[in-house]
Assembly symmetry: C2
Homo-oligomer: 436 residues x 2
Amino acid sequence: MDDSAQPETRSQSRRPTIVIIGGGFAGLAAAGTLASKAVDVTIIDRRNHHLFQPLLYQVATAALEPSTIAMPIRRLFRKAKHVEVILDEVVSIDLPRNLVIARNGEVPYDYLVVAAGATHSYFGHDQWEEAAPGLKTIEDAVTIRQRVLVAFEAAEREPDPQIKREWMTFVVIGGGPTGVELAGAIAEIGNRVIERDFRRTGRTRVILIEAGPRLLPTMSEKSSENALRQLKKLGAEVMLGSAVTAVDDNTVSCGAAQIRTRTAIWAAGVAANPLGRALGAPLDRAGRVQVNSDLSVPGARNVFVVGDLAALSCQGKPVPGVAPAAIQEGRHAARNILRAIDSKPGDPFRYFDKGSLATIGKGAAVADIGRLHLSGMIAWLAWAGIHIVYLLGGRNRFLTLTEWAWMYFRNDRGARLITGDVEALYERGTQPHPKH
Amino acid sequence: MDDSAQPETRSQSRRPTIVIIGGGFAGLAAAGTLASKAVDVTIIDRRNHHLFQPLLYQVATAALEPSTIAMPIRRLFRKAKHVEVILDEVVSIDLPRNLVIARNGEVPYDYLVVAAGATHSYFGHDQWEEAAPGLKTIEDAVTIRQRVLVAFEAAEREPDPQIKREWMTFVVIGGGPTGVELAGAIAEIGNRVIERDFRRTGRTRVILIEAGPRLLPTMSEKSSENALRQLKKLGAEVMLGSAVTAVDDNTVSCGAAQIRTRTAIWAAGVAANPLGRALGAPLDRAGRVQVNSDLSVPGARNVFVVGDLAALSCQGKPVPGVAPAAIQEGRHAARNILRAIDSKPGDPFRYFDKGSLATIGKGAAVADIGRLHLSGMIAWLAWAGIHIVYLLGGRNRFLTLTEWAWMYFRNDRGARLITGDVEALYERGTQPHPKH
């Protein structure tokens, strides 16, 4: 009863200690490469789970439950006895002393991998966040899911037709993959689920706003056109070349055009984790660390930055902030650390572009693979297959396949659960309402 | 674009309107009985989902995800065109005017079924709730799950052996089915999951405290003994005849005995929904409405109370607050309403006791079925089968079976996801800590 404490068993050998900040794609890839080597690895994350971000929008649209796309980090390294996981938040990095400063203690390192990722950026309009939340964490996804589901409930019970229309109007800001996926999924819910379960909500209206001239700007023009066509087929409206100039609880404005809505979602900007500033290296406009070609930090050769926090170009093109790039960078930094331990110089990083995909709805997606541009069902099957393969854990794969099969054949969504303070969500839309 | 509002299509016929407050077992049973009859039914609930409470402890112990044991109420009545669902919170009932007063409007009724259920009671010590949350809602379950998972994380990173032991000590207060199930599940997590994924937490200690002389007081003495034996086999400690006298963030006290713990869970008392007071009828000590034998309210023959909010005896024995009783009462009240519409007197309610079950862990449960007392694997299989059958929806049944199979064969738990403000959870246990 009283002898359950175990002595500290930290290895006192001369194995180099590598600390990895962040358990996303880049951090896990680095840890995985180092796990079987003669080094001690410590992963620090403020969450206990790795999050499979490419499917986060499915949590936000009531298709998947959070735990299906998350995996406890320490379970991934259950069998790796020299990998340790600490649940803590890093607040700073002390480069001269080789120390990571976390909220609950300091962690010394010989080599450091910073894979702290990015969050959404409101381009200097942080006050828009309350009305138009972004999508980066499980909590964000649950917030958006609640708002979308409550909007339908509120429309159902609202007698005023004008307010009812506002509840039934959904605005997604940003036409990248996340925005396209969100707009398509909400349009599908409106078309397929809502009209069966509700009695008098009226029609669902989904508007996707993109500041640039086309959707999915990082993909081919062909895929942009295909995505636009498939979105319109689902009933979504797309506004291209429209920069949002104001957002509040009832209105999204693009210059003179005003859209009355009670549910706006932000999928537009990305800002790097502010931890990048602690490294004393030059940052790009989005706050990302401009790393050396071997992914190390200028002025700190034992510190590497990988994933969305790193800015670098490869063969003249910037490496995109996508999961495959993060994984390749994480592995590369780990290999360069092993080279450094062996007193070898670091190799330059080369990005291998495997192609890119975005999904719009059931049987609707676009894919660029080399010079190949796929669209429709074949792209959707490619998308589904790749995401199942990359999802971590047999349980998660199986549950995701089950939910997708359910959605596909029953046209229904499993995770339609509103939790938290429902009345507060109603009132959020109702309080500052000048015209009614 | 601007004609999406539909006209109000509420039936103006002379069909009687029946309002049901609450979408739990009792309310759904009443609605289901009435759905195909010549009546208009309105279900009001402050949640959009029916919750399968018997499996709520599995959400609290990271075995199932919330949406697996919840079902949107309106989906259940998708095909019942005369059943309407309103997401709103009832604040009062105006008996003379036959009106339900909800936060966002008034709902008139010809007949009313009050199935508002119960919550936990701290026997006048509401200040204990912060340190020892109860388990009635999805939010409660997620709170408990977070505290349990964070406790292991905190133990892992805590250098002080005394505090480490406090994090690894879990106290469950109340030896009814929920308390037994929670204690068993936490002991299993400690035995099977934690020692594989953590490096230096030390041993898990689970203590179940019951004020009465035996566990599961509503079951047979044989089952109480079997439950005690199976819990001890899992490594849980059981304190019988021990009334809790104080609870704070670090300590649970039973008179002179003090248990140092950072995670206490309340599974002891039940109090009826305060809405019962609005009915002007006599209440019992737990605040439940003492209904007539036909389940109507004394003095209001068109109002019925069913489920955990109703107090009545049947053949000299009080009807227990369990799901089968709630379902039987809901159906019976619905039938008596149909009789009243036909100007017939109400029939008295008779409770048919199908038996009772409680589960302790993998392959461990107890069951009383008539004079039969089952234990171990056979009781566990009966428990699992019955719960799968009663769970609503093919998707939920399938996902639950999948998760159980995963747990059974892999000894792992799928829903080990910590969300929300993790640091606040640590600090909750750390702040008021006088001795360290």
